[in-house]
């Protein structure tokens, strides 16, 4: 069953299908939030809010619309609402606690997080959409209101900037 079929079923009242979507998207959304702010607890709450909104606004889902784009729109709104209420969380200053399974001595992860923390928001977002949401150019463009060519350019510049920051941090 595709995401779109599952979401359409949910919008028609078959709520059990929401579990399929939750299982498919919980990890990518958690990571999407985790690398945009610094707190696992917050990332978990924000992920939870996305799925609650998915259930509440299920009637607004239109048959055939890309589910990934739709849920990401909700995720971005949840994140912006969160920033409005907690402006201090927009700064990434600490290494996120990514859970018990994570080896905290992993230097690569620390460098990457520091580098991501310093990346301008528009670059960070485009990378996270591509990496954690597995979005293609069209979907990213649709989500951010950019043309495919501009998405590619932005991904490239984001990678360049991240590379500079990453090697700068790791050489210190």
């Amino acid at each position: 069953m595709t995401d779109e079929q599952a979401m359409y079923a949910v919008s028609q009242g078959d709520l059990d299908k929401a579990a399929i979507l939750y299982e498919r998207y919980k990890k990518s959304l958690l990571n999407f939030f985790l690398y945009r702010q610094n707190d696992r607890e917050n990332a978990r709450d924000l992920t939870q809010q996305v799925f609650l909104r998915m259930l509440r606004y299920r009637h607004t889902y239109r048959e055939g619309a890309s589910f990934r784009t739709w849920i990401l729109e909700i995720a971005r709104n949840v994140f912006f609402d969160h920033l409005k209420q907690n402006p201090t969380f927009s700064d990434l200053t600490e290494i996120p606690d990514v859970g018990e399974s994570y080896d905290e001595t992993d230097e690569q992860h620390q460098y990457l997080h520091h580098a991501l923390a310093q990346l301008p928001e528009q670059y960070r977002e485009v990378l996270l959409l591509s990496r954690f949401q597995n979005m293609n150019y069209e979907e990213i463009g649709q989500t951010l209101g950019l043309s495919v060519a501009n998405v590619k350019v932005r991904v490239f510049r984001a990678m360049q900037k991240l590379r500079d920051l990453y090697f700068n941090v790791s050489s210190q």
Partner: protein, 304 residues
């Protein structure tokens, strides 16, 4: 295609086989480009390697919320966007002005009629002038008799007008409440809730607006006040289910407490499974767990 677009496609694996071969030939011939691409690839790979895992607590919260939503699905609670509601505030203002004008038009002549009817002169004439008075009285009586059906119908009209006024007033009140509940300011929404609490038998639209407020309002105080307001009205199964559903979705101990107390007062037996979940959940505030336990006791007694 620009260099930067090709490099992005290459790194993300979006080039066709033929394009990839051509690009790799370019890389082998251009050491500067090769170095850049290698560095970018390294960073991209690091980004691929970091991923946090979800946990059981997150899952249990979602499945609890889903359970609550499934309970709600049996009721006809459609949260479809209703664009006409955006104009409620303006409609309320226009209705208010129209009503004031209408009251002005309707009440002015009525008062004049009352004065004419009630201003009967006292009888203090001397005896010798009795005859003319009697004649005068009989004339008045005839006039009064002739006026009787007219007066009666006027009374009925006035009663109808008052009833109509009351209906209009209620409608205006409800429109104002709906407008206030959508206000950006939490204190205005609280004001709307206070007005709503004063209504006797609110229309379904008001109940739906209250339900929406309970489910979506970001302010805890507003949600707590909404719970109290909903409890005042007819405690339908729909309202009970909405409260149970909200209990599955909130993490705020104050809201959980208020919901449990309200559901126990409403004797909502359908909340028992949720109370049991809360009571067992170690992440839930202790006072809430205790309250859930006592709620289970009270509701079980009602069942028996």
């Amino acid at each position: 295609m620009l260099n930067e677009q090709i490099i992005t496609d290459y790194l993300l694996g979006h080039l066709s086989e033929a394009e990839r071969v051509v690009f790799e030939q370019r890389l082998s011939a251009d050491p500067v480009l090769r170095k850049e691409v290698e560095e970018l690839r390294r960073v991209w790979q690091v980004l691929q390697n970091v991923e946090a895992e979800t946990d059981i607590e997150m899952d249990s919260k979602f499945y609890r919320a889903l359970q609550g939503e499934k309970m709600l699905e049996t009721t006809v609670v459609a949260f479809k966007p209703q664009p006409w509601q955006n104009y409620m505030r303006y409609a309320a203002a226009i209705a208010g002005i129209t009503l004031t004008f209408w009251i002005g038009r309707q009440t002015a002549p009525t008062q004049i009629e009352y004065r004419t009817i009630t201003a009967a002169p006292p009888v203090t004439k001397p005896i010798d002038s009795l005859q003319p008075i009697q004649q005068q009285e009989s004339i008045t009586e005839v006039a009064n008799l002739a006026d009787e059906p007219k007066k009666k119908s006027k009374d009925e009209t006035i009663a109808q007008q008052i009833a109509s006024l009351r209906r209009n007033m209620k409608m205006t009140q409800e429109l104002v409440i709906l407008g206030l509940l959508k206000d950006r300011s939490a204190s205005e929404r609280l004001k709307g809730l206070n007005y709503a609490a004063a209504l006797n038998d609110p229309k379904p639209a008001v109940i739906q607006a209250l339900i929406k407020t309970l489910r979506e309002d970001e302010s805890l105080n507003v949600r707590l006040s909404t719970i109290e307001t909903l409890e005042r009205f007819k405690q339908t199964d729909e309202v009970k289910r909405v409260l149970v559903s909200q209990l599955t979705q909130t993490d705020e101990p104050a809201e959980q407490t208020s919901l449990i107390e309200t559901l126990v007062r409403m004797k909502a037996k359908e909340s028992l499974p949720i109370f049991e979940q809360l009571q067992k959940d170690e992440k839930v505030d202790n006072s809430v767990r205790l309250l859930a336990r006592s709620g289970i006791g009270e509701l079980s007694m009602i069942t028996e």
